[in-house]
């Protein structure tokens, strides 16, 4: 269709708008609420070509129907925007609901934050070879002959050379008419990733802190999903003890009580051992906490677990510290002391929603 080109161009413009406002969209968290399975619908102001036009509210019109002076127009609500006034000559204001796939959004995120593409761990260990049919060519094996195209070429030739008789429509392809399907061999790396989310749900983590975690993990998810073929997410919450939960519980649970971070590390190591053999999976850790741990001893234990067991078998370990009025923020300092130069570790401080974008960049900007 001829419109395809215009649609594609319009889409590019929309993407530009989304990119421009991406930071705003990210920190408002609005997109998450609107996400379906693979598609997000985003409200953006209608793009119009500006003209000299009348101020809408000052414009009057002519209508038809019952009603006495002073009555509201039927269907009109206070504060309501006038819908489509094509007949009454008053234009309304519109929002466009544009749908965009999460994958596309991830691409925009990647471009805007200049995220590097991920270097898969363990190289091309597992690959699948697939043959894909791409287009048509003039030579090939008979088994791949494109029947319709071949006959069309033959027909064209016969008509052009005047040997085609509509009353006796026999079409005989010769060698030059033959067309074959061509294929390309594709090597697709089977890259899978396991994401382990760990969150501190002790009393000091408030709703706003969890919302920040939720928004950030949504975007991390979206980005990694665009980079890997298969993604599995696991969720661990902890206070003084750790347990695995489903996604919903992860963002909703609020416990009181203390915080022992090492319990969550042990729990996640169990999960890794059971389900994700190191040579087949790229493993990512995302830990969020307000940085308040129970004791200095536990901090030391955590560092030890990280150094000896977690880091050797993961692509990336990310720690995001969400500031809360109650937390001391000590844990971040502790980790910084040991891991500042470690390429496998990303540390980030997230004081508020506006810092989410930078934090995502710190986490995913390493490209591993």
């Amino acid at each position: 269709m001829k419109i395809t080109q215009d649609k594609a161009r319009f889409r590019e413009i929309i993407r530009g708008k989304i990119r421009k406002n991406l930071r705003k969209y990210i920190s408002s968290g609005e997109m998450i609420a609107r996400s379906g399975k693979d598609i997000i619908s985003i409200p953006i102001p209608q793009i119009d070509i500006p003209k000299f036009k009348f101020e809408t509210r000052q414009q009057k019109g002519v209508g038809q129907g019952d009603g006495e002076p002073g009555d509201p127009l039927s269907g009109e609500q206070a504060e309501g925007e006038a819908g489509d006034r094509s007949a009454g000559n008053l234009p309304g204001e519109h929002l466009l609901e544009e749908e965009i796939t999460i994958e596309e959004l991830a691409q925009i995120l990647g471009e805007e934050l200049e995220l590097p593409r991920i270097q898969y761990k363990g190289k091309e260990r597992i690959v699948t070879v697939r043959d894909k049919l791409v287009g048509v060519r003039r030579s090939g094996p008979e088994s791949l002959r494109h029947f319709k195209r071949t006959y069309r070429e033959a027909l064209k030739r016969q008509i052009a050379s005047g040997t085609y008789d509509p009353m006796n429509p026999i079409v005989v392809p010769i060698k030059e008419d033959k067309r074959y399907k061509s294929f390309r061999r594709e090597v697709i790396p089977e890259t899978n990733a396991a994401l382990l989310y760990i969150m501190d749900v002790s009393g000091s983590m408030g709703d706003e802190q969890k919302e920040i975690v939720r928004i950030e993990s949504f975007w991390i998810d979206a980005w990694l999903r665009s980079q890997y073929k298969g993604i599995e997410c696991r969720y661990i919450i902890h206070d003084a003890t750790a347990r695995e939960v489903d996604r919903e519980t992860f963002f909703k649970t609020k416990e009181s009580g203390g915080t022992i971070i090492s319990t969550s590390y042990k729990q996640s190591l169990d999960i890794l051992a059971a389900d994700y053999p190191a040579d087949e999976w790229n493993v990512y850790f995302f830990q969020f906490s307000d940085g308040d741990n129970w004791s200095n001893e536990d901090n030391k234990l955590c560092v030890k677990l990280l150094q000896e067991e977690i880091l050797p078998r993961s692509n990336l370990f990310c720690y995001g510290q969400v500031e809360s009025p109650y937390g001391s923020g000590q844990y971040l300092k502790e980790l910084k002391e040991f891991f500042t130069d470690d390429q496998r570790v990303a540390l980030s401080n997230i004081p508020n929603r506006d810092a989410i974008v930078e934090s995502i960049k710190e986490f995913l900007g390493k490209g591993n």
């Binding site: 000299f52 006495e68 009454g88």
Partner: protein, 497 residues
């Protein structure tokens, strides 16, 4: 191609339409699927337009709302000779029949209404040419640069002089352009010299300085009443002649202007044109074409077309009702001095001189009127009352639109205001060398309604892209005379009174 049974139907419908007195170009029907219909609709009825994102946006909007069942495009018809019209695949036979009858009447209107007289009847080809031209410009200067300039030109597409017929105007322009182009090219280097001459060129032409030999052969195109013909209102034309444009820019501005003038008669006759088509499909269907078995289906579809769309005026309905009113009045002799002066309502109610002039009157109306003059002449107090027309406006206190008045004079005045200049503000070129700095000053002829400020500023920025020097508009904002200016970097707003 039209399948056989529809082809046969077309022959029947055309025959009945001609018998009834309609006179149309050859009509070519095409059957389209939903998607194709939306595509063509997004292109404004044409099978192809020049590449531009807004068509893509429109297509998205249409296909979304047709998917959700919010609208359905029954019919589309292009003012062209031959006249192209589209039928939606999967419509029932009675619907196709109705659409055909409707289309014949549109086509008759295109062919015979005075305001269409100057339109390009080969616009199909012209649009295809525009597509080729813009595509090749895009290849040369790049898609984004081209689009950037198209957007600027579209921003002023309502700044044309609707009171001038498209024909003569465009023709003269072209001739003049060819005469001028060599000279213009030379001048491009020295903007200084050109600026001094700008008005001269412009005024000379508009003063009616016709070239010898041309004056005689062309019939005067009548200027419709209601809008004073003012040469400087054709701002697109003014810029085309006087702005320092590269040749590809000139090409694009010319295309945008051609199309704006082509579509302008359709904007000026929407109520009449739809009314005319509705009048005829209903007459032809009920009197000649309907099978007994189709009556219920027909009634259902037909009533949907003229149903009041909420409190808003439905142009189909207003048009058809007014035409029927005219027919009845002229059939019964309810016009002229005696009728006007009769104040006895009981006499008026049964007034029937048996004049029988209804048919010839409505044919005359479709030939010489446009919406503005149509309403001005034929909207009567009785009609206004029977059809329960009212004016409405936004009540700032209650934050809602409210019915304001049901008085005939007010309703009529409001309708006329909304139809004036196609509902766009009246804007003229005032000075193209404002403050002796080559700045373009426009004037908004304020008639009670302000310009929308943010749009006005964006439009000035777009005019800057064309004029390449600061652009200003003198208007009134919140009752203070105000000068809006864009100097290439920033907007300023100066209260001048």
């Amino acid at each position: 191609m039209l399948p056989g049974y529809l082809g046969e139907l077309q022959v029947v419908v055309e025959e009945k339409a001609r018998e009834a007195g309609l006179d149309f170009f050859t009509v070519m029907f095409e059957i389209l699927s939903f998607d194709q219909m939306n595509e063509v609709a997004a292109f404004g009825g044409f099978p192809a337009r020049y590449p531009h994102w807004r068509f893509g946006m429109e297509y998205n909007r249409l296909s979304k709302s047709s998917t959700y069942g919010l609208h359905r495009i029954y019919e589309m018809v292009i003012n062209n000779d031959p006249c192209y019209a589209y039928l939606l695949e999967g419509n029932s036979l009675v619907e196709q029949k109705m659409v055909m009858a409707h289309v014949m009447a549109h086509c008759d209107f295109f062919k015979n209404n005075l305001f269409f007289a100057g339109t390009n009847r080969k616009m199909m080809d012209e649009m295809a040419n525009h597509r080729t031209q813009v595509s090749s410009i895009m290849d040369k200067v790049g898609v984004e640069t081209t689009e950037w300039f198209i957007d600027a030109c579209l921003s002023i597409e309502n700044l044309i002089d609707v009171s001038l017929g498209p024909s003569k105007h465009l023709k003269e322009d072209k001739e003049e352009k060819y005469l001028k182009s060599g000279e213009a090219r030379k001048e491009e280097g020295k903007a200084e010299g050109k600026r001094k001459e700008y008005m001269e060129h412009f005024l000379q032409k508009e003063d009616g300085g016709k070239k010898a030999g041309e004056a005689g052969d062309e019939p005067e195109v009548e200027t419709p009443s209601g809008v004073l013909p003012s040469p400087s209102r054709d701002i697109m034309g003014f810029l085309l002649k006087n702005a320092p444009l590269k040749s590809w820019e000139q090409n694009i501005l010319e295309i945008a202007r051609d199309e704006a003038y082509y579509f302008s008669p359709q904007g000026q006759t929407k109520i009449m044109n739809e009314g005319w088509a509705t009048y005829w499909h209903s007459k032809l269907m009920t009197e000649k074409l309907l099978d007994a078995s189709e009556v219920v289906d027909y009634a259902d579809r037909a009533s949907a077309i003229t149903a009041p769309s909420g409190p808003m005026l439905n142009p189909y309905r207003l048009g058809v009702e007014l035409l029927r009113d005219i027919e009845e009045r002229w059939n019964k002799g309810r016009f002229g001095k005696d009728w006007e002066e009769c104040e006895d309502s009981s006499v008026r109610r049964v007034w029937d001189t048996g004049a029988g002039l209804g048919k010839s009157k409505i044919f005359e109306v479709r030939r010489v009127y446009n919406d503005l003059t149509f309403i001005d002449e034929f909207l009567t107090e009785e009609f206004c009352r029977e059809n329960r027309l009212f004016t409405f406006g936004f009540n700032e206190k209650n934050r809602r639109y409210e019915v304001e008045s049901k008085q005939f004079q007010k309703v009529k005045l409001q309708l006329l205001l909304n139809l004036t200049n196609l509902g766009s503000p009246l804007i003229e070129v005032e000075d193209a060398n404002y403050e002796n700095k080559g700045q373009l000053l426009l004037r908004h002829l304020h008639e009670g309604i302000d310009l929308r400020l943010d749009w006005a500023q964006d439009t000035l920025a777009n005019i800057y892209k064309i004029w390449k020097r600061p652009a200003l508009i003198a208007t009134i904002l919140s009752e203070s005379p105000t000068l809006l200016k864009f100097d290439g970097k920033e907007h300023t707003q100066i209260v001048t009174g």
